[in-house]
Subunit: 270 residues, 2 copies
Amino acid sequence: MKVAFQGEAGAYSEQALLGHFGGVETFPCESFEAVFEAVNSGVCQTAMIPIENSLAGSIHQNYDLLLRNDLKIVGEYFLRVRHCLIVAPGVDKRDLRKALSHPQALGQCASYLRSHGIQAEQGYDTAGSVKLLKESGARDTAAIASRRAAELYGMQVLEEGIEDDPENYTRFLAIQREPKPFLGEAKTSIVFTLKNVPGALFKAMSVFALRDLDLTKIESRPLQGSPWEYLFYIDFIGSIQEEPVRRALDHLGEYAVMLRVLGSYPRFKG
Amino acid sequence: MKVAFQGEAGAYSEQALLGHFGGVETFPCESFEAVFEAVNSGVCQTAMIPIENSLAGSIHQNYDLLLRNDLKIVGEYFLRVRHCLIVAPGVDKRDLRKALSHPQALGQCASYLRSHGIQAEQGYDTAGSVKLLKESGARDTAAIASRRAAELYGMQVLEEGIEDDPENYTRFLAIQREPKPFLGEAKTSIVFTLKNVPGALFKAMSVFALRDLDLTKIESRPLQGSPWEYLFYIDFIGSIQEEPVRRALDHLGEYAVMLRVLGSYPRFKG
């Protein structure tokens, strides 16, 4: 089995997919578009994409790609993000002037960098910054990335867990072309649009509330080409194999202009 | 009157504030934090911040700043974003190899750039890219920004309206320290959190639906420090001066853990 992810070897996405799938072959892609294409074309059976970070919020590009592609969500995974300060072997913390990483990782370590007088420098991605740092041979620069990235490129971790807020989790989704049967507690993800009339969202919420279905996430996104109309992405506990869920979605269909089930999949259990 | 905005002179935010306020003094700031600070400190009476783009979605950083600062929304403005291909005087389109702009503007002109064989190069902001281009003297590079930015820096507009999707609008909010009295149809913006129990959002929506109050926007944001709990930002038609709105907010207070009114302000009329 070969699983696609965005970034260089050692990226947090790769760490998440290894945590979820165990020992599989991993397939690095330059962009999220390329990740979806790898699954669409059959080069990979599955992909792992980040969808939401507890500090930074949703990764909207992947919501848009879920809508544009006809893939199914078959799993979720929560990764505790622990950023490491990574340097070439032998470099001392007092030598550091700059830290290179993805803008989001830099933002999550802003207080740490400030208090150590280290200047943030934006790079393409986290693991890619470690690779770049190694190639450059710089000894006044660190990269911020995962411990795995440091190990892969033979670099040294000076400090682990340098993120300002320890409640730093990223939720990932596993996606593939066909749904995958499973047992146990399920979560379902859907996307829909509503008529632009008063009370529309209230009616949409009612189909879940009236059946005691527990929403775990709601996200609104502007609908391209229709300014100020919204797409709603909702996650809730339950599977489309279950009668109340099927009835709720039937009921939602009465109000929705468009409704698509992105997948029912096993709920992540720490 | 002096109004703060983020970016260089000629930024879309400056265009929006001039459209909204007419001839006022404008105060450019490097970051959104600096914009809020300019109003908090009294350097400016008011600021104009972008909150949502019809293609790219919400500007989350400004939602977070609205929450962290105690300023009131006193107005809204919708700007039709028309990107221009801007060059040094005398440069021909056939000479162009690169186009410099803010990543979001580059993304909105991606098809145009591709079809003209022009490579995108990321810059700090739109108007700032025009300034940078002028300083560099480059003749194989264009900037993408507003017509106003081209005029301010004495540069030439080769083509106007190069965005891929013409439905490209940005909504701006005017913010200041004290609410401002007004007449006419109002919109109100609030932010709240809910207990993490089934049906909580349905109950929250009910307080508006039961009073026929029309929601124009809902946005959820993760609550920092409480992974997977959400802040909800809602806009609806009506003013806190009106009885049904006051009752709806009282009612919402029964379910909400935190509830704040960000402001009632005149609804934008094209």
